[in-house]
Symmetry: C2
Subunit: 388 residues, 2 copies
């Protein structure tokens, strides 16, 4: 086996896209962002939050992209949420100075990392057990940092969070015993409520979440405990969370892009965000005759919330592609069939609407922003894979 | 918003693991490789191929890891398969000099890239349409490279590949008309056959695939066309592919790691490869009481072939963890319940067996190799995300 030369210029992968290219010149599969729709989504959510007098802290786990976080902060977001400690790092490096880790951590290594980061930015984190408080206190003390700690309460998801006000109060006492920690308030998030199909279902879940949160707040107040922050809510419930009077800030993420799953929800017109995210694919085999094969499968999209939809062009509502169905995802292949009409020829470009945006973003290193038919920017998904 | 200093040493993510660490010191979630089981898998497959007198060209799409490709080549593999043109690049840079792109490409940009790479290593690719041949010929000619082209035939998967011998012969003629291309033989791969549960089903699918391939070979021979290579087969069918007398080389990939889906297959003892791949996770919330939450969900594992299994330690067959079930994957959370017995306490480490290894590997930048309780190596998944 001969070892080929390592640093010859030819052995570098050409970029999938560069600003100024036409969309037809972008290599596939690639993640495309319709910048007009994206900016309207950002503006709309910020306006809703401002009108309600509630802070917007968008969830960066949806995009993992510092350029998008900065665009959100520039419009008035108070900072971002991250779901993992490591995920915060690329955002801090890009200049985002206020990050809430909307999750619990158990181990001392993660606590040390969080405490180290807290020396450089305002960082908060959630707890739902005294053991987590102890781990955080020791790490913050050792790093000579001060960490803001929120108590998470379970408002219906049965995932993380304490079950009642007494447990919350016990954790507040626990936090208050450590000078390296500061009690910041409550997190009350119900992930499952985001994806209920009808507005009525989501309104009811959000009402119950707000009601429970309100009861905990009253109990804490009675005990002399002030909650500076009550954070929660997502794209699916934000309409109701903003109106609840309970939340001081909301954490929606997916509204930036939307996806097939959210597209199946029923929305009020004012809260119907636009699909801005697409996977650009190419028909690479038509030999089977009654189906065609595109160059994007399980390694280019998450399928946990269903297979992708198909459009010929961004915003396409003409139905031109509606007869095409993406029927199966193999690792690197997608199988496309049609109910009626012609199949697209070899080399045809199609835009897929991913079923679930968050884990799809986590597969790509770049987002290619376009306006009309022209690539305008290529943004790094700098927190891709930062799952620790 | 203040921009924090960028190059302070504290703002670098600590590595998840380093050689010499104990497994308990590895940060989670991480991808662990049991090196003893891994090496036995590599040795076993190489021995099977050698005994059959068939070349082994393992599929690198399963691991995307140059260190693993070099370990396969060192044992006698003739090279590797890649599924995408870009995927070949990290393997070439590591010194793998013979790569078969076991797939079709439609666009001129990909053909140009392939032709450029072909100046530095032996590269082959598949076609199933005359238009693909023309695109490859033009790119190879422009790059002053020579590309080896295999005609893919459909042997039952109904994905890529021509349907019969006459179509194959027409493509061979087409390839022969271009001096920059060389006809290399046939690809006959049946992906669906790999995952049939019983050996009888897989034997029958493999028999049909070999029978069809044999007929095409006879027709080509009659027309004076020699096939240097007949390539195909996978981990599920390799037992039968090796014995078929039709294949000159086989392309199994998953045997290196195995996964939950392959684990549900029925195997002959000699072809039962060992589970070597695990996702190391930590219990990060126990507040719900009747379930616990681990720190790995959809961004840390592919769930297209089912949710992960759970073990307490590599190779664990004690049933100690058998009462635990991973029942739901959220983006960053996994929900674990038990049918009987105690739930693990906060901070407990568990090993998950991913349902599908290939797209799981594509989520990680590193594989942490261990022996016993000690980390021995950290290998880059250098082709992760190389899907173009």
């Amino acid at each position: 086996m001969t070892r080929p030369p390592l640093h010859v210029p030819e052995l570098v992968l050409p970029p999938a896209a560069q600003p100024g290219m036409t969309l037809a010149q972008v290599d596939t599969p690639s993640l495309l962002l319709d910048l007009d729709a994206f900016e309207r989504n950002l503006d709309r959510m910020q306006a809703h939050a401002a009108r309600a007098g509630v802070a917007l802290r968008p969830h960066a786990k949806a995009h993992k992209c510092p350029a998008i976080a900065l665009a959100q902060v520039a419009r008035g977001a108070v900072g971002v949420c991250c779901q993992k400690v490591s995920e915060a790092l690329p955002f801090m490096r890009a200049g985002v100075s206020d990050i809430h880790v909307s999750n619990e951590i158990a181990g001392p290594a993660k606590a040390r990392m969080l405490a180290t980061l807290a020396r450089h930015a305002r960082l908060s984190v959630c707890v739902d057990a005294a053991q987590q408080v102890a781990v955080l206190a020791e790490a913050a003390s050792a790093a000579e940092a001060r960490l803001t700690v929120l108590v998470e309460i379970d408002v219906g998801q049965r995932r993380c969070g304490v079950g009642d006000a007494e447990q919350a109060l016990a954790l507040v006492d626990c936090i208050d015993r450590h000078p390296s920690l500061r009690f910041g308030g409550l997190q009350a998030y119900h992930g499952g409520a985001q994806h209920r199909r009808t507005r009525d279902e989501r309104r009811e879940e959000a009402r119950r979440a707000a009601e429970k949160t309100g009861k905990v707040l009253v109990r804490l107040q009675t005990a002399g405990v002030t909650c500076d922050v009550v954070t929660g809510g997502g794209t699916g419930s934000v309409e109701f969370d903003l109106a609840s009077g309970v939340y001081t800030e909301v954490q929606p993420g997916s509204y930036v892009f939307m996806d097939g799953d959210y597209g199946r929800n029923e929305w009020a017109d004012a809260f119907r965000f636009e699909q801005s995210l697409y996977i650009d694919v190419e028909v690479m085999s038509v030999a089977a005759g009654d189906r065609v094969i595109v160059d994007a499968g399980l390694k280019s999209m998450a399928v946990d919330s269903g297979l992708p939809g198909i459009r010929h062009a961004p915003g396409d509502a003409s139905g031109a592609a509606s007869a095409l169905r993406y029927v199966a995802a193999n690792d690197e292949h997608g199988i496309i069939e049609t109910d009626s009409g012609a199949l697209p020829p070899l080399g045809t470009r199609l835009l897929l609407v991913p079923g679930h945006c968050d884990p799809t973003l986590n597969l790509y290193d770049e987002i290619i922003g376009f306006r009309g038919e022209t690539v305008e920017c290529v943004w790094a998904v700098a927190a891709r894979g930062f799952s620790r």
